[in-house]
């Protein structure tokens, strides 16, 4: 019972990073898409 309370408390202290994670993945997607875009331009010229 005691350990369960502690566990719940621990979960509550963990920050919610879902929004941050989504933003990071958005930046990652932007970098990867631009990189392949530039490579495509280079190869087609």
């Amino acid at each position: 019972m005691v350990s369960e309370t502690n566990k719940n408390l621990g979960d509550k202290n963990e920050p919610d990073l879902r929004g941050t994670f989504a933003s990071v993945m958005f930046v990652l997607a932007f970098i990867v898409i631009s990189w392949f875009g530039v490579l495509g331009i280079f190869l087609s010229r």
């Binding site: 963990e14 941050t20 994670f21 010229r45």
Partner: protein
């Protein structure tokens, strides 16, 4: 040290992309031999004609073989010397058949210039005392403007030429 699960994921992506870009850079440099266009080949900027390619009669388009060309250019403030035509007029437009392999050799007797054929991958910095070379295959027909993209003085904007790739 405690790391959030999401932090671990984006750290892996971040460090992973750094490693990936370093590998791509190394592959380009060591396996493909990519390097700056002025690759340590030095000439006397006060006497560029001492170098065969930049003798007046060798400037402009030189056909070496079927679909193989060498284009020699002296870039100076504020002009690209592309040689003269048979009437003795300065050439401003060079014509190359589509699909040709072209080696550009450019130098400068005065200041730093640029040699960019807008819309192609040909883009070099032209430094006095160095021969900048770039080999390319011109596959897309059209008219391209050769521009100086390094500020070289008051007439910088007047420095241009034309490259025509025809069918």
């Amino acid at each position: 040290m405690h790391l959030h699960k999401f932090e671990k994921i984006w750290l892996v992506f971040g460090i992973g992309s750094l490693v990936l870009f370093m590998v791509i850079l190394g592959y380009g440099a060591f396996w493909k031999g990519t390097h700056p266009q002025s690759h340590g080949q030095i000439i006397d900027p006060n006497n560029v004609e001492a170098y065969d390619a930049f003798k007046p009669e060798n400037l402009g388009v030189n056909k070496v073989d079927e679909k193989r060309y060498v284009i020699n250019v002296v870039a100076s403030a504020f002009n690209y010397d592309l040689g003269t035509d048979k009437d003795g007029n300065a050439v401003k437009t060079i014509r190359i058949p589509k699909g040709s392999n072209v080696l550009f050799q450019v130098t400068s007797p005065d200041v730093v210039h640029g040699f960019n054929i807008a819309g192609t991958n040909v883009n070099m910095m032209i430094e006095p005392g160095y021969v900048s070379k770039m080999e390319t295959v011109l596959n897309n027909p059209g008219e391209y403007t050769i521009v100086c993209n390094e500020y070289c003085g008051v007439g910088h904007h007047l420095m241009f030429g034309t490259l025509e790739v025809y069918e």
